[in-house]
């Protein structure tokens, strides 16, 4: 992979990030309510509210406000929480590892579940295995993550007692405790992705298994395992990569709900809480970081195309 290509792709991300930042800043104007009113309390006088507005800079022109915010962001300063009075950057850094570990857990569920289901369905096409995977995938796509989360809690936490219903244990505290606390949230968050991947992979694997080069591989006496794992999968996985990029965005968005349900103190819960208190610097900062992450992951997906498809590597 030529370095030039990667650098070129990175530079092309800059305008995207600028647009994203404008979008995020602008969107906070659409949130109903006035932060100053909320902050001042129920029986505050108009003068008090006005004073707070001035203090927060809410009376400045939107463009000025945006510029102040953006120059802070570029210096790594995302502002200070209106309620907690803690710098947003500090709080995000503390919560980030939690959300990342949840996202990775969900991604593992998506990839492992999707690959296993997709391969099994494609190779046992038309059998009960295929029907089971397809049926399961439909259910997985149709059920919202919070519903899956609630069912998991009822079955595995309340009735079976295998996992804690809520709460989070950090990996440095207790690796097994961490695994236990992360399992159900990961499944709830990754199930839809696994369903989408399984479905897509089934289709593309069936197509690829009919390709001439698979026939060549058979004619050369290669084992079915090698034909599927090497020749078919590398070609079938191309559309899955695109899908994964999109799934990661969904997944990070989904952390807002799932962290709330399972009481996980990550970025998602931070956003959830801040939206209700109109803590704008927190919402802006956290959403920006998540947007950055999504852009970065899609960049990595783009780069990985070159690995799968050698034709793209030269252009």
């Amino acid at each position: 992979m030529p370095i030039q290509y990667i650098v070129k792709r990175l530079i092309s991300l800059l305008p995207v990030l600028l647009i994203v930042s404008i979008g995020i800043f602008g969107l906070t104007y659409l949130i109903p309510g006035d932060a100053a009113v909320t902050l001042a309390g129920e029986s505050a006088s108009p003068e008090r509210i006005e004073a707070i507005r001035t203090e927060l800079g809410l009376n400045e022109a939107p463009l000025v406000q945006y510029w102040t915010w953006l120059s802070g962001v570029l210096h790594g300063d995302l502002g200070t929480s209106l309620y907690m009075h803690v710098p947003v950057t500090t709080e995000l850094l503390r919560r980030f590892p939690v959300t990342i570990s949840l996202a990775i857990g969900a991604l593992v569920v998506t990839i492992v579940g999707g690959l296993a289901g997709g391969i099994a369905a494609a190779l046992r096409r038309g059998t009960w295995v295929d029907r089971l995977v397809q049926g399961g995938a439909s259910v997985g796509i149709a059920m919202p993550s919070f519903w899956i989360a609630l069912i998991l809690i009822v079955v595995f936490a309340v009735n079976l007692g295998w996992f804690p219903a809520i709460g989070y244990t950090s990996i440095s505290e207790s690796p097994t405790g961490w695994l236990q606390s992360i399992t159900m949230p990961s499944v709830a968050l990754g199930a839809a992705g696994a369903a989408v991947v399984a479905r897509q992979l089934r289709g593309s694997l069936i197509d690829v298994m009919n390709m001439d080069y698979v026939r060549t591989a058979k004619a050369r006496g290669l084992s079915p395992r090698r034909i599927v794992a090497k020749h078919a999968l590398k070609n079938a996985v191309m559309p899955i990569l695109t899908l994964l990029g999109v799934q990661v965005a969904y997944l990070l968005g989904g952390t807002v709900i799932v962290e709330q349900i399972f009481g996980i103190p990550g970025v998602g819960k931070y956003i959830y809480d801040s939206v209700f208190t109109l803590d704008l610097p927190v919402v802006q900062g956290a959403v920006l970081v998540i947007a950055l992450l999504v852009v970065l992951i899609n960049f990595l997906v783009d780069i990985s195309y070159g690995f799968v498809n050698p034709k793209l590597r030269q252009e």
Binding site: D212, Y213, R215, A219, R220, G221, S223, H231, P310, K311
Partner: protein, 343 residues
């Protein structure tokens, strides 16, 4: 009435044990209304070191026959309904899948019509050659790499060692077919099945590939089953040829005899429809009509609907393949008819 001259020398060869012997072979495919027999009562043999041609139109069953020898037809929807395929005396149809895998690419190799799609676009030429070697030979990656370079050199690709690192999209159609041939030779097979290997190529490249195949075949004393719809190509490369029509073999003979004097009206039709080099051709004569569905003509000569010599006896019953010494034909009127060859 003409007498058929039987060449004693050729008869001796026929009696020798063949390398591959297909006997009364039949394949059926599932359709909406039951099983459709697409290959029926096919028998032929290939001797060590010879090139046997299998000729016919699209849908005549020649490719299905070739794929069946490798047991590569998907089952279902296909099934082998009858017959034996003896390779060195062993019935391939009796082998289980792991045993069959040891035959594929090792004792019998195959090349295909479309070189552009026959190799995996996601792996280098070298990777795929090394894989073909290591599928059947216990050698190190390094040794296999050396052998791969040798093979690529053997099939006439310049700068073989460098080209091993290239992906298939860097190769032209002719070079890809050469690379496919290199892969087929990887384990020095006794039989090479070539399923229309030059059909998708330019005429000049076609000639190069035929020359290459002929040279390699002599060098390694490898038998070849050459499938084609092109009688000109068959005349160029084959020793003997079997003509297929609507799932059956209608005539088999040495290439010389077949062109000199066909015994089946379908063969004569093919020859008349073929342009010839170095001869001013007034007009090519097409065979009227299309290949019928096998089931609709199962009770008579399958070519009868398109045959200009058709008589009542042709409609009376299915016609068996009848041998005349080393030749065979599936025509009830073969003794009455004097058909035109290319001489």
């Amino acid at each position: 009435m003409t007498t058929l001259i039987v060449n004693e020398e050729v008869m001796d060869e026929v009696r020798a044990d063949p390398l591959l012997s297909v006997e009364n072979f039949a394949v059926e495919f599932a359709t909406g209304h039951g099983w459709s027999r697409v290959v029926d009562d096919v028998s032929f043999s290939v001797r060590a070191g010879e090139t046997m041609g299998l000729v016919g139109e699209s849908g005549s069953g020649k490719s299905v026959t070739a794929m069946s020898i490798m047991r590569l037809i998907p089952t279902p929807p296909g099934r082998i309904a009858a017959g034996r395929i003896l390779f060195e005396g062993q019935d391939l149809l009796a082998l289980d899948e792991p045993q069959m895998r040891k035959v594929r690419g090792n004792h019998i190799a195959m090349i295909f019509q479309e070189p552009l799609t026959a190799l995996n676009p996601a792996f280098t030429i070298g990777d795929q050659l090394v894989e073909a070697i290591r599928a059947h030979r216990k050698v190190t990656r390094k040794q296999a790499g050396d052998r791969a370079a040798e093979l690529l050199d053997l099939v006439g690709i310049p700068g073989a060692r460098q080209r091993l690192r290239d992906y298939p999209h860097r190769f032209s159609g002719g070079m890809l077919q050469r690379a496919m041939i290199a892969g087929a030779l990887a384990c020095s097979p006794k039989l090479l099945i070539a399923d229309e290997p030059t059909t998708a190529l330019d005429v000049t490249v076609q000639a190069q590939i035929l020359t290459l195949l002929r040279g390699l075949q002599q060098e390694f004393n490898m038998a070849m089953l050459f499938i084609s719809h092109d009688l000109g190509v068959v005349a160029d490369i084959c020793d003997r040829v079997a003509v297929m029509y609507a799932g059956q073999i209608v005539e088999s003979a040495t290439v010389y005899e077949l062109f000199e004097r066909p015994l089946h009206p379908y063969t004569e039709g093919l020859l008349l429809a073929m342009p010839q080099h170095g001869k001013p051709t007034d007009r090519l004569v097409p065979i009227p009509g299309v290949v019928p569905e096998a089931a609709s003509v199962a009770d008579r000569c399958r070519f009868e609907t398109r045959c200009r010599y058709a008589a009542d006896e042709c409609r009376a019953a299915p016609v068996p393949l009848t041998s005349y010494g080393p030749r065979a034909t599936r025509c009830v009127r073969s003794k009455d008819l004097v058909l035109g060859g290319t001489s």
